[in-house]
Symmetry: C2
Subunit: 512 residues, 2 copies
């Protein structure tokens, strides 16, 4: 077991931070609650962006960019929205720094602004203001815009990727002629997220609706995808909001309808964030470190040479050159990319920029194995003089540590692609099994408490959503209604909390 | 001539804004000096990002993300840097808003921060701080990181894309073992920028070095690419800085060298921004609106049906379906993308998401021509009943308004690709010719003043760089040394300002 990584069973929270540190995914920054996303972590975000952006465009969306700063008065225009966000805003009050006359080495804020500005915690208000100017007629609808951006919510208790003051995300904002269209859009994007989570990150999710207590401040209805982490806590992985006419009324997004009357548009918003990287880590990684879902891995395979003499080195490296050429093609194999620490790096895929690396550093082979294992690279190939003699490479799979000898003539781009797909499928299967094994049914509140205490995970039960009941349950169990799953049995049951009849089943869980 | 666009000869500054408005590239926002980049404008930025990002990765760089907010004390650590940036910073002083007790409808800043934070104007300081922690040994070098981000410099006089308080950019930050490596990196990235400007934006540029008066605050040397706009003003399109050991000393980026002694790293930084979109507009557009370089056009071709009866409509649309299938392939032609305003939109390229549109809106054909002309779409095809009878489409080229009848069986993805490449080549040639025609030589200061007054453009002359001389010349002529071009004749000449001998030729111009 890795010495620099705590076991999950010993300290799950520390394990999570240790995995991030060992894989060099992110660091805390000198600014409280803000993180630095290091190259290995950012590459995962780039893969997420590439995949999601394609899905957004295939569903007719376009990207745009709205200002970082929002006049503080905008927040007050939607009543629930201001309550939801005013308490955690970074506020810009000055537009320059000047030297303190008493101590020129020290700077102080100068040129106060007439109206303070806040750094966007989300952009419904700014975008609502702009849409009001862009929309005149039903012909201007729908507007189907997405924004990739940084946002800021001043958090007291932060955790890398899961909850940081600044984070990266995408926020879709659409405006429609009818309520039906807005609802269809809201559901479509939830489906996009669910499919993406499974296909890109190998994370199975449950689709459902939030209770009023848990919905987005300003939404009519919030839908979500919920994932389950290995410690039995749920994680909200994406949300899609039907905003009804709340923001169009607050910001006057009006259009001349087909019937020649002025109408308010129906709007939606939907988002996922760098939080998904946290979800991915906690869904798949193990006590030896990160396990990367292959479709978001920036390095898909590392070759580790093993030799004792200069003569052996020459033989081994010549054989490795052949493996590289077989895996990435002659052309790419002839172009080593620059990288720190004397490694040889090659593009395996020129579109995704996924790479194959030959670890030629002056480091012991065992340390190299350890290094790449902690970084979650899906495959490693070890090549020593005996392998060269046998014409094989020893292929090791990160997911389950399985090993196989593969003949040189078997290596090809398609071979590697197939292997990576197998890993994706098996990671998704494994996570699906965990999700279904960790979803239990309770008939009574006591049963629910017992399940939460003993196993964690999701508890499915009859429950009539209600702010008061939910608040009491949270205080007593730490669990909240994660969602009202779409998948309902129908009929009626007894609410576990009030004993009254209800038509609704919900999923309770502790959550991140 | 377009009524909503001023002619260049009448009011160049207004023409620029009119082109942006007509093509819906950007809007001013309710926050002073900040812009909204609308979908048509942002698509250009996405094309720029895609192309540059590929070039960065092919030269061994990786992306990462550093915090938006920087402690104000960081700015003071590098002496020139603080002078350069402190005067134009957005300053965050509070971490929440609260309701004014006297007027609960009004919010006011609360929870003052211990140390004010600034929104990054550039990230050398934050990144220097982090590199100091990441670098221990020469084995950790080079670090080759790029960041795509928003930055903020509080500007008094703003102009869409060219100078806004918030803008989008990329900033590369590298750290190296030796001064030679850092210099090689600096020059490599300048070459990347120059090649990119020509190959993606069809903008020819001049490579050179900045004088001390014009260099980046904190750099040893700043290199730049300079482009020439149609009004004869120069525009700095990208910069690459050799920062020497200035930031590594200020932030203690130290490493244990091969000789076992502690060394300071040598660092570089380099960036281009959404300013490039302004450069692209001003380099190519005309009095009828935007002219898009094909490689960054999101819509590459629009088909406009012309008909008078329902019967004609059916005939024309059936023929257009065949053209679409020929241009984008049967598979893509069967999948219309959602879009506002009842148009049919298809992917021409699934990687770049470039599209072909059939403009089926209920609008007069003449208005559609006008609409797409102002938006700079490289090609339009008009199809009426007579074209259907002849089995042709009338292809119109935005660049020069040339027209040609093209037979249905000629249309193919390769046909369109070839046509787009022709346009790129001709735009670049045209811009090159303009650049060389607009570069004149002056032997004396009077000659220079005469050229600047009469023609604008670049003035090449012998000149000994000197802060005082440059300040005086700027006051008298508005012109500055744009760069000391790499292309020097050698030998010696008489400085146009002092009359003293100098070995340096420079390019003067008025600039954006």
């Amino acid at each position: 077991m890795a010495k620099n990584i705590k076991a999950r069973s010993v300290d799950y929270a520390q394990w999570y931070l240790d995995v991030i540190k060992a894989a060099q995914l992110a660091d805390y920054s000198p600014v409280r609650g803000c993180m630095v996303i290091r190259p290995e972590g950012y590459a995962i975000w780039e893969a997420i962006q590439r995949d999601l952006d394609r899905r957004f465009k295939e569903t007719g969306h376009v990207n745009a960019y709205f200002p970082l700063l929002i006049p503080q008065s905008f927040l007050t225009k939607e009543a629930e929205h201001v309550e939801g966000f005013a308490m955690e805003c970074a506020v810009v009050t000055h537009s320059k720094l000047e030297k303190d006359p008493n101590n020129p080495a020290v700077l102080r804020p100068a040129s106060p602004l007439e109206e303070p500005l806040i750094i966007r915690p989300t952009s419904e208000t700014m975008i609502g203001h702009m849409y009001a100017q862009w929309v005149q007629s039903y012909r201007d609808l729908p507007i189907l815009i997405n924004q990739w951006a940084n946002v800021m919510r001043w958090e007291m208790r932060t955790r890398l990727f899961l909850r940081t003051s600044e984070f990266l995300w995408q926020e879709g904002h659409t405006a429609h002629e009818t309520a039906d269209e807005a609802q269809a859009e809201t559901m479509q994007m939830l489906d996009v997220y669910a499919d993406f989570a499974e296909q890109a990150l190998a994370i199975p999710v449950i689709k459902g609706r939030k209770t009023d207590a848990e919905k987005f401040p300003g939404a009519d209805t919030t839908y979500c995808i919920e994932a389950l982490m290995q410690d039995g806590k749920a994680l909200q992985a994406g949300t899609s909001h039907n905003l009804g006419q709340n923001f169009s009324k607050a910001f006057e997004i009006k259009y001349l309808g087909r019937d020649n009357t002025q109408q308010f548009a129906h709007t939606t918003s939907w988002g996922v964030s760098t939080r998904l990287i946290g979800a991915m880590i906690m869904a798949h990684s193990d006590d030896d470190g990160l396990v990367l879902p292959p479709r978001v891995a920036s390095v898909v395979l590392v070759i580790i040479p093993v030799f004792k003499s200069e003569e052996e080195r020459a033989t081994v490296m010549a054989f490795i050159d052949k493996i590289v050429a077989a895996l990435v093609g002659e052309k790419e194999a002839s172009a080593t990319l620059r990288t720190s620490g004397d490694m040889q790096s090659y593009f395996f895929d020129k579109i995704t920029h996924q790479r194959v690396i030959v670890d030629t550093r002056d480091v012991r082979p065992g340390d190299k194995q350890y290094h790449w294992e902690q970084r979650g690279v899906p495959f490693r190939i070890e090549v020593g003089p005996r392998d060269v003699a046998g014409g094989v490479g020893l292929v090791k799979r990160r997911l389950d540590r399985s090993k196989e000898n593969v003949q040189l003539d078997q290596f090809s781009p398609d071979w590697l692609r197939g292997k990576l797909e197998d890993v994706h499928t098996q990671m998704l299967e494994k996570a699906r099994l965990f999700l279904s094994d960790s979803t239990r049914t309770a008939e009574t509140y006591d049963q629910m408490k017992e399940i939460l205490e003993k196993h964690g995970g999701f508890v499915r039960c009859w429950f009539e959503p209600n702010r008061d009941s939910e608040a009491k349950i949270k205080t007593e169990t730490k669990a909240t209604v994660r969602c009202i799953p779409f998948d309902q049995p129908g009929g009626e049951g007894k609410c576990i909390f009030t004993g009254q009849p209800t038509r609704t089943q919900v999923l309770f869980a502790e959550s991140y």
